[in-house]
């Protein structure tokens, strides 16, 4: 479920509000450079991440300017991961160890040899594993600087912030009570340092 369909969670960020005049030049190329690439059937890569069309997770071409929906830039971050179920890995390792012991007439396999077997089994199974695809929508209002990203997972959000920086060369600022307080004081024309003087309220202290 993303922001476009059903219910979702999201994290908010602020991007630079004043963008350079030539900001849109080369934007398509930059986005295409960091677009999603399918995991190759023959590769042993465990994951792949990149941008896809927010309205179609299978469209990663960015041939046009489908990401531009004035005043928004909207895309999805797609993360594909191959995972081997731990029980399957254990079973295949046990079978491989048994075969080797029989072939080499061994009673016992040293720890290092067992680790090598496990790694080779893992790589073999990885090629057979079907990647699990997930998408996380991003809506960036370039007029206000508000960026909404459809995940609240710290790991996914970190990956998003890094990819956003590489794609747009812009650092995102995460929203939290402090930054929201700063925005409020900015609108009031007051100094953000007023927040530094605050301490937690003791509601149940004798008054």
């Amino acid at each position: 479920m993303g922001l476009m369909h059903g219910s979702a969670g999201f994290t908010r960020y602020m991007a630079e509000r004043t963008l350079p005049q030539n900001f849109k030049e080369g934007l398509s190329e930059n986005i295409a450079r960091y677009a999603f690439r399918d995991l190759d059937d023959k590769s042993i890569d465990e994951r792949s991440a990149g941008w896809v069309n927010i309205l179609d997770m299978f469209d990663n071409r960015f041939a046009g300017i489908e990401f531009l929906k004035e005043p928004y830039i909207a895309m999805s971050l797609r993360l594909d991961e191959r995972k081997i179920p731990p029980t399957a890995l254990k079973q295949y390792c046990r079978e491989a160890e048994k075969t080797i012991k029989e072939e080499e007439h061994l009673e016992f396999l040293p720890k290092s040899r067992r680790a090598d077997i496990k790694e080779s089994v893992r790589l073999r199974l990885l090629k057979r594993a079907i990647p699990v695809a997930r998408t996380y929508d991003m809506i960036w209002n370039t007029a206000t600087g508000l960026v909404v990203f459809g995940s609240t997972s710290a790991r996914v959000c970190d990956e998003f912030m890094e990819r956003f920086l590489r794609t747009f060369n812009l650092q995102l600022q995460a929203i939290c009570p402090y930054t929201l307080g700063e925005l409020h004081l900015g609108q009031e024309g007051a100094s953000p340092h007023l927040l530094d003087g605050l301490s937690p309220s003791r509601f149940l202290e004798d008054q």
Binding site: M4, S7, A74, T152, I175, Y178, L180, D196, S201
Partner: protein, 177 residues
């Protein structure tokens, strides 16, 4: 002070904001002025998570139900537990949103916006703009309400009035009033 240190030292503001929202919705009908956008009605309903940290470690309590005047959650407040996240219902005009607001990063979880008429088949961009508008409208309303909270929190009246009345309300919860 570095930004990260400032962020860490003011984390309590998110918890106090959720408490203030609950207090306002219980005692003052939860009506908030959004300026030229009219008025918003807000109440807490669904799940609320409270937490305290003391020498015994971290203690967490989660209460679920529509009636957040529920005794257990109110009692937890009186035991000096603080709200970590709460399900917020927000209504502006005919539109109603539901989401779980997190006190640390002000994240919106389980966000449900009003149903849109456009199914996206014929006009996918229309669906996008409608969804984006509804997301931004909820965010903008919550930011304005947070701004109202900050205004009170930074005013001298907070210590003399708000802190006292919220304290009384918390005590009433313990006494079962």
């Amino acid at each position: 002070m570095q930004l990260l240190e400032r962020v860490r030292k003011t984390e309590f503001l998110g918890r106090e904001f959720l408490l203030w929202l609950w207090f306002k919705s219980e005692t003052e009908d939860g009506i908030f002025d959004l300026g030229d956008k009219g008025k918003a009605e807000l109440w807490l309903g669904g799940k609320i998570t409270l937490q305290s940290e003391n020498e015994r470690g971290v203690e967490t309590i989660t209460c679920t139900g529509e009636a957040l005047s529920m005794k257990e959650a109110r009692f937890a407040l009186a035991e000096e537990k603080e709200i970590r996240q709460a399900t917020v219902k927000l209504a502006i005009g005919d539109n109603q949103w539901s989401f779980v607001l997190d006190s640390t990063w002000m994240n919106f979880r389980s966000f449900k916006a009003p149903r849109v008429m456009n199914d996206g088949e014929e006009d996918p961009d229309g669906l996008f703009y409608e969804k984006a508008f509804l997301i931004e409208e909820a965010i903008s309303a919550m930011d304005q309400i947070y701004s109202s909270f900050m205004k009170r929190r930074l005013s001298p009246d907070w210590a003399t009035e708000d802190r006292r009345t919220i304290g009384q309300w918390i005590r009433q919860g313990r006494d079962g009033d």
